[in-house]
């Protein structure tokens, strides 16, 4: 078999351009497969290890205040394994040299050392000394965002009192793998941080001695979480419990899970696309090779090689063609996966990102590529192995052609002969033509789907911050405040306009379904904060009844006109029946909206407000902001522009990375398909093209015949690519939709344009390479021999 092996090497060397083009596609397929799956596994493993090693809790609950004595009662709830009571609070943070609002979540740690649950991983420094009330451990992203070092100081307004704190440690916690403020669109590491302080210090500051307002607990395996939560809610109700929730509703865990869902979706789409394209390319290339080698196959068989040996020979060729791509793809996949892991680590903080590549992923990548390549070439292989030697030695019958459909439409007489040649060639191999179009379309679709990411975020930002929220600043109070506060705000110099809002945590029930969220009460004639319908028209708030974001409507299975049970989780904890009056379009969150007055009636409170939407004059903005930060009553200040900037800052990096990968993938497919089609057309038709050259056709004119077909294929592929791209985006948008956010299916013209440009560029580049080969056609050589 040695001579055959030599033949193999030489032939592969001779086809190096095509092998390279196929390898690129195979590489992209294997790389994306490994990238998405290994990153998903790594993230999963890293997360479970961190959760396990640092004892991540199973159930979480906040409450107003309960005496320590309740702890034993909670511990006695069947199924509870470990339990920790804590004190947590929100505080405004003042950082020297950073004049924007920063809020922190303060969480207590037991005075006797590490917490039982949600233990801290101390990256640097140490835990606070329980006997000092001014020591604090902060989370890593917050520290890095501000360049804090151990011993640095920051100030916090704790329970209305300004206090200077010293950083003694920088830590991570399984509870805050991703640190994100509730209600925010993206994490904001500069403006939100976690501060761990000793229980003693916080209790003193918040008058929580002998009491707690936060409970986390772990459960025994097999215990029904729902039962414990119900029990817990009953027990904590009288103490102002806000409703317990499990891991799946815990912010950090939830967001991580969403990320993994996204990876899983991607790993289902992209590798499949590449592997199909690679199999198709191999099919085309191999059937051509086998056609040109009919005689050699016959000779091999005449010498006594059997069908099996010939089949194996070509199977080896297929495997060798894809081997380089598979190896490069594995390397690239690991490299990209580690790069993606590092990128994740900027947002999701684990002690260390453990990159794991399961051997079965490798085996799957290799066997899927090899099997699909062999499957793609099976037909040609079978033909090669089965041909009787005598038949194979005879020259192939001349190709059969027909008058094409397009000529029958009546335009036939106007076609030039080169145009006719193009049309008939395309129609003679309709499947190959169609698959080439699909292949290129897929590369176009890949580009569309990568641009879609940015377009939809742009749109989300526009919908949220331009159409819906006209205010440029939002403040919220520590607790519901009298409506009078709004008049005060309106009189403050620099405030142009102010509208009040009330937000109430609730549990909405319909039939057997329920959902915990908030109801936002807004001013009925308000101009600042609008609730929009699907056409982005403002929905007037009726005197009574509730509006739901459309996704919440779906979750609860309600329609306009149905009556919901609203259970408020604050204040008097009233239970009321409220009719649903409209559905609102919103891409973020799932909540209800009511007329402010109606909400206050429902709460049986007076004219209470939770905060205000403000329009400010820009010269005053800074000063206003400082004054709000210093106001003890004000819990939080949002500045719209900061929110928008932060979204783009956070996304810029990951967007760049994904666009880069998509671009690479799209180019490699477009190049792989166009280049291979062109090379094969060239080898099939070099004789014909040479004949035309002999008849006096110029190089340009024969290039037109060869490349014209590719140009038509490419141009036909682009609209199909737009269509597939749109469909792909719709699939992704649908797969990612959750109560946290819905990805709007918006694709800008620019995205389509860039996608088309990338495809055309790749096609032109491949065309240029083939054109150069065409210029060196050996006229004499070609005419001498019979095909």
């Amino acid at each position: 078999m040695k001579a055959l092996h030599l033949k193999l090497w030489r032939e592969i060397w001779r086809m190096k351009g095509q092998v390279f083009a196929i390898s690129m596609v195979v590489m992209s397929g294997v790389a994306t497969f490994i990238l998405f799956i290994s990153t998903m596994h790594s993230l999963d493993y890293t997360r479970s290890k961190f959760y396990r090693d640092y004892n991540f809790a199973d159930v979480f609950v906040n409450l107003k205040r309960a005496p320590d004595s309740l702890k034993d009662k909670i511990q006695n709830i069947p199924g509870v394994r470990q339990l920790e009571t804590r004190v947590s609070a929100q505080a405004k943070i003042d950082i020297q040299g950073f004049s924007e609002n920063v809020t922190g979540k303060i969480v207590s740690i037991p005075d006797d050392g590490h917490p039982l649950l949600n233990r801290l991983y101390i990256r640097q420094g140490r835990l606070p000394d329980p006997f000092k009330d001014n020591e604090v451990v902060i989370n890593e992203t917050f520290a890095q965002a501000h360049g804090f070092k151990l011993g640095d100081q920051l100030a916090a307004v704790i329970n209305g009192k300004w206090k200077r704190l010293t950083i003694t440690g920088i830590a991570l916690s399984p509870e805050f793998v991703l640190v994100m403020k509730i209600g925010a669109m993206t994490p904001d590491f500069k403006r939100f941080g976690i501060l761990w302080m000793s229980r003693k210090a916080i209790s003193k500051a918040y008058d929580m001695d002998g009491a707690f307002n936060d409970v986390v607990l772990s459960l025994y395996a097999g215990v029904k979480e729902g039962d414990v939560i119900r029990e817990l809610d009953n027990m904590l109700g009288p103490y102002g419990g806000f409703g317990a929730y499990g891991r799946k509703n815990q912010m950090s865990h939830r967001l991580l899970s969403e990320e993994m869902k996204q990876l899983r979706t991607s790993s289902r789409i992209y590798p499949v696309i590449f592997i199909c394209v690679a199999a198709f390319l191999l099919n085309v290339v191999m059937s051509r090779i086998i056609n040109t080698q009919r005689e050699q196959i016959a000779i091999l068989k005449a010498f006594g090689y059997n069908d099996f040996a010939v089949g194996v020979h070509y199977a080896q060729m297929v495997i060798m063609i894809i081997a380089a791509g598979v190896v490069a793809g594995i390397a690239a996949g690991i490299w990209l996966g580690k790069m993606m892991g590092n990128m994740y680590m900027e947002f999701y903080r684990f002690p260390v990102f453990i990159y794991t590549l399961h051997p079965e992923v490798l085996i799957a990548a290799v066997s899927v590529s090899v099997l699909s390549a062999l499957a793609g070439t099976m037909h040609s292989l079978w033909k090669a192995a089965r041909q009787p030697p005598a038949e194979a030695m005879r020259p192939e019958a001349p190709a059969k052609y027909r008058v094409t459909l397009i000529e029958k439409t009546g335009i036939g007489p106007w076609l030039t002969q080169p145009a006719r040649i193009i049309a008939r060639n395309m129609e003679r191999k309709p499947i190959r033509t169609f698959l080439s179009i699909v292949g290129i379309a897929v590369s176009c679709a890949t580009m569309v789907s990568s641009g879609f990411f940015k377009d939809s975020v742009d749109f989300m930002v526009k919908a949220q911050y331009v159409f819906s929220q006209k205010e440029d600043m939002t403040i919220s109070f520590i607790e519901p405040t009298s409506y009078r506060a709004l008049y005060e705000l309106k009189q403050t110099p620099g405030i142009h306009d102010a509208e009040a809002f009330r937000s109430v945590p609730v549990k909405l029930k319909f039939g057997h379904r329920s959902y915990k969220t908030v109801i936002n009460g807004i001013e009925p004639e308000g101009r600042l904060h609008l609730v929009l319908d699907t056409n982005f028209q403002s929905i007037p708030l009726p005197e009574s009844g509730i509006l739901l974001t459309d996704y919440l409507g779906k979750i609860l299975g309600v329609q306009v006109g149905d009556v919901l049970t609203v259970e408020t989780l604050e204040g008097a904890k009233a239970i009321r029946q409220v009719p649903v009056v409209a559905m609102a379009k919103q891409y973020l969150g799932a909540m209800g909206y009511m007329n402010l007055n109606a909400l206050n009636r429902l709460m049986q409170e007076g004219n209470a407000i939770s905060g205000a939407y403000l329009v400010t004059d820009s010269p005053y903005r800074e000063k206003l902001f400082r004054s709000f930060v210093e106001m003890p009553r004000v819990a939080d200040v949002f500045i719209r522009q900061n929110e928008i900037n932060n979204i783009y800052e956070v996304m810029a990096k990951s967007m760049l990375y994904f666009t880069f990968i998509a671009m690479l993938m799209a180019c490699s497919i477009a190049f792989g398909v166009v280049y291979n089609s062109a090379r094969i057309s060239l080898s099939e038709r070099s004789r014909e093209l040479s004949s035309l050259r002999v008849l006096g056709y110029t190089r340009g004119e024969i290039a037109y015949i060869l490349l014209g077909e590719l140009a038509i294929i490419t141009l036909a592929a682009i609209p199909l690519g737009f269509f597939i791209g749109y469909w792909l985006c719709a699939y992704v948008a649908n797969a990612l939709a959750s109560d946290l956010f819905r990805v709007p299916l918006i694709i800008e013209l620019k995205t389509y344009t860039i996608a088309a440009a990338v495809v055309i560029f790749s096609a032109v580049f491949s065309g240029w390479i083939v054109r150069r080969k065409l210029d060196h056609l050996d006229l004499v050589e070609v005419l001498k021999t019979k095909e």
């Binding site: 001349p398 059969k400 002969q417 004949s691 006096g696 190089r699 004499v780 001498k784």
Partner: protein, 235 residues
Amino acid sequence: MKENFFQVRDLTKVYRMGEVEVHALRGVNMELYAGELVVLLGPSGSGKSTLLNIMGGLDTATAGIVAYRGKELTQATEKELTEYRRFHVGFVFQFYNLISSLTARENVAVVTEIAANPMSPEKALDLVGLTDRLNHFPAQLSGGEQQRVAIARAISKNPTVLLCDEPTGALDSKTGILVLQALERINRELGTATAIITHNVDIAGMADRVIHLSNGKIAEVSKNKVKKSASELQW
């Protein structure tokens, strides 16, 4: 005196076949006059195809001159050679070289569309006796028919010269004679100077002049006192 279309002087062609230098032509001198039918006769490897390829602007010379109507082809640019092939010379090859995706008529149209002063494809096909095969694809034609389409294609531009490389090489004698009759008719009726390459001695009978090539040189030039008609030939 008839116009001398081709002036070939000391034409030499050396090419490399791998490691070996092959002297295909070693100083060939010849002429081709208007309206003349010349047969270039020689065994395979005698250099006749190389000579024809250089005269047709398909190949370059190592040394010497080939002039077409006073214009040196050996000095011409790629563009000029393409134009020369496009407007002045017609080719017929042993293996027809038709475009398999085009019908007989369209295969001729390939040339008439780009030529300066063409006849209609129908007329060209009529001249080779294929009026009833206009809309057949190459796959539907016999070898002789395909070759006659190739001849129609070659003459449709009204070339001054027709160069034929073993036009009957792939055909049986009966079909071959049909093809030669077509060439003879073109030469007679249109006055196209025609050069036919063959290793078949019997074809020499229909020529005005016979040029014998051997080993890259012209061994002998003979004139046929009595020119046979193609239908009288047999082999």
